[in-house]
Amino acid sequence: MNGTDENPLDLLPEVLLAGCAVLALLLGCWLPRHRQWLAGALAVTGCAAGLVAAAVAAAGPTGTAFDASYAVDPVTSTGRIVILGGTLLVLLLSLTSPWLRAAPRETEFYVLVLLAAVGAVLLAGAQDLLLLAAGYLLASVPAYALAGFARDGRGTEAALKYYVLGALLGVLLLTGVTVLLAAGHGTGYPALRRELPDAPVGLVITGGLGVLAGVLFKSGGVPAHYWLPDAVQGSLAPVGAFLTTVPKIGALAAGYRLAAGPLADTGRWWPDLVAVVAVASMTLGNLAAFSQRDVRRLLAYSTISQVGYLLLPVAVAGRTALDQRALLFYLAGYAVTNLGAFAVVCALPRARHLADYRGLARERPALAVALVVCLLGLVGTPPTAVFLGKLAVFSAAFDAGYTWLAVVAAANTVASLFYYLRWIAPTVLGTAPPGDEDRDGDGGRVGNGNAGRAGADPLAGGHATGDATFAGGAVLVAYPAAAASVLLGLLGGPVLDLLAGPLAG
C-alpha cells in the first residue's frame, strides 16, 4: 500500500465495462419488457467507450497500476482492444438474435456478457497471482450462466459440464498460486521473477502446473478442453461465439505474461511442457473435427486446434524477440475470423448441420462469401489475418529453436484444411434439395433446432420471430468481420510493429 500508483483512471476501460454492467442490471429491473433492448444498447455504448479508452491508453506510456498488481503495457492494451471489440460483436449478434430479444431475461444476458468480458480483460492484465485468480473467477462464473441461458436440456448440460470442470481447474489454479507463493514468498510477478529461479524446482513446477491448468481451462486447450464442444453446441449461438473467443484472449495473454515473467528463468520445463500441450491441442482438435457434422461442434473443435497454435508463442515466450507480436496479432486475427464464422451460424439458426448449408452460395451469395472467407481464414489462407498470424507464430517457434514444433504445427494446418473444406464444399457446390436433407448418423447428437421440422428448408427466408430461419441482423457482424479478417491480413506489417514493446514491471 504505497499509495503512489492507485489511479483509478489507469483502469478506465475496465471501470467503464463494470459500471455499465451494474447500470444495465438496474435499468433492466425497471424497464418494461419491450424496452429491455435499452440495456443492450447501454452495454454496446459501454463497450464502445471502453474501446476508445483502451485505444487512448494504448497510445500512452507503459506502466503498472494498483501496487504493481496490474500492468498497462502492449499486451494489456491489445488484450483490451481485442476483447472489447469481440464483446461488441457478440453483443450485436445478441441484439439481432430473435430468440434472445423475445427472452424474459434479456437484460441479464447483456450484463453477464459484460462481466465475463471484464474478467477476461483482468486475466490479460493481471500481474499478480491473486488478481489472476480473481480474474479467472470473474471470467468464469458469468460464462457458466451464459452457457445455460436458454434453460433447456442441452443448455443445462452445457452449463453443468462447464461449471464442474471450471470448479475443478479453478481449485488447481488456486493450489498452484499457493505453491508459488510458498516457493517465491510473494504473488507479484516482479518479485516472483527474482525469487523463483532460486526456489526448489519441485515446488516451482508443481505451482506452474496448477496455474497452467487454469490458463488451459479458460483457453480451452487439451487436456482441459472437454467442456468446450458440449458448451458450444448446447448453448445459444452468440454464447458459443463468446465462449470460443473472448475468454481465450485473456487466458492466452495471462499465460504469456506468466511465461515471460515469473517462470521465465526457471528452466526448460515450461517451454517443453507447453509445447507438448500445444501439439496435443492442435492434433486432437483437428482429429476430432474431422468427423463432426454439427457446425457448432466443428467450430468448437476448430477453436481447440487454434489454441494449439496460439500456445506456441506462450511456450517460447522470452526465448525470441518475435513471441509477443506473434501472439497478439494471431489473437486479433483469430478473434475476428472466428466471430465472423459464428455470425454466419447465428444468421441461420436452423441450419445446424453441414448438410443444411447445401446451396447457401445460390440462396445467399453474400453470406456464403463471408462464410468461405472466414473458414479459409481459419485454415490460414493468404491474405487473411490468421495466415499472417500463423506465419508469425511459426517463425517465433523456429527462432526460439523449436523447429520440430513449427513443423508439427504446419503439418496440422495443412490437415485442418480437410474439415473446413467439408463445410465449404456443400456451401459452394451443392444445390439446396427441395425435400429433406440426408443426415445419416449424426452420432446421436441431432440438433434440436430443426429435428421437428424435417423437410423445411433451413436456408429459406424467414420472419422476425423466435422461430426464424434467417436472423438477418447477424449479417451486420458477418460481413464486417470477414472484411476485417482480410483487411487485417493486408495491413499486417504495420500492425505487427505496433504490437511490439516491453512488458510492464
Binding site: 500500500m1 499509495g3 442490471l25 429491473c29 425497471w30 510458498a182 526448489p200 519441485g202 515446488l203
Partner: protein, 119 residues
C-alpha cells in the same frame, strides 16, 4: 525444500490411504450383495418411507441461503477494513462505499425480480 517435506509426507500418506482403502476393499472384501447396498446412503436413516411432502425441501430455501451468502461476503470484507480503517484512510472509505453500493445493487435486483417473495 526441507521445510515442505512434512506437507509432502502428509499428502503422500493421504493418497496412500485413499487409494489403499479402495484397492484393499476391492481385493479382500467379500462381495455379497443385499438390498441395503443398493439403497441411497442416508447416514443410517431409513431412506424410505419419506416424510410428508416427499421429504424434499422447497428450492426457495436454497435461494434464501444464497442471498444470505451475499451478506456474508460483504461482512467478510467489512471486518478487515474496519480493523485497518486508520491505515487505509479516505481511499479505503471510498472503495468500501463503492463495494457496498455494488452489493446493494445485487439486492435491488433480487427485490425487483421477485427473489424476496416466498410465494
Amino acid at each position: 525444500m526441507n521445510a515442505y517435506a512434512p506437507i509432502l509426507v502428509l499428502g503422500g500418506l493421504a493418497a496412500v490411504f485413499a487409494i489403499g482403502s479402495v484397492v484393499a476393499a476391492a481385493l479382500i472384501g467379500p462381495s455379497r450383495y443385499n438390498r441395503a447396498k443398493v439403497e441411497a446412503y442416508e447416514c443410517g436413516i431409513e431412506p424410505t418411507p419419506q416424510a410428508v411432502g416427499g421429504g424434499r425441501f422447497p428450492i426457495k430455501y436454497y435461494l434464501t441461503a444464497m442471498l444470505f451468502i451475499i451478506f456474508d461476503i460483504e461482512i467478510i470484507f467489512l471486518y478487515p477494513w474496519a480493523v485497518s480503517f486508520d491505515a487505509m484512510g479516505l481511499f479505503g472509505l471510498v472503495e468500501m462505499l463503492l463495494f457496498a453500493l455494488t452489493v446493494a445493487v445485487a439486492y435491488a435486483y433480487v427485490w425487483r425480480r421477485g427473489g424476496l417473495e416466498w410465494d
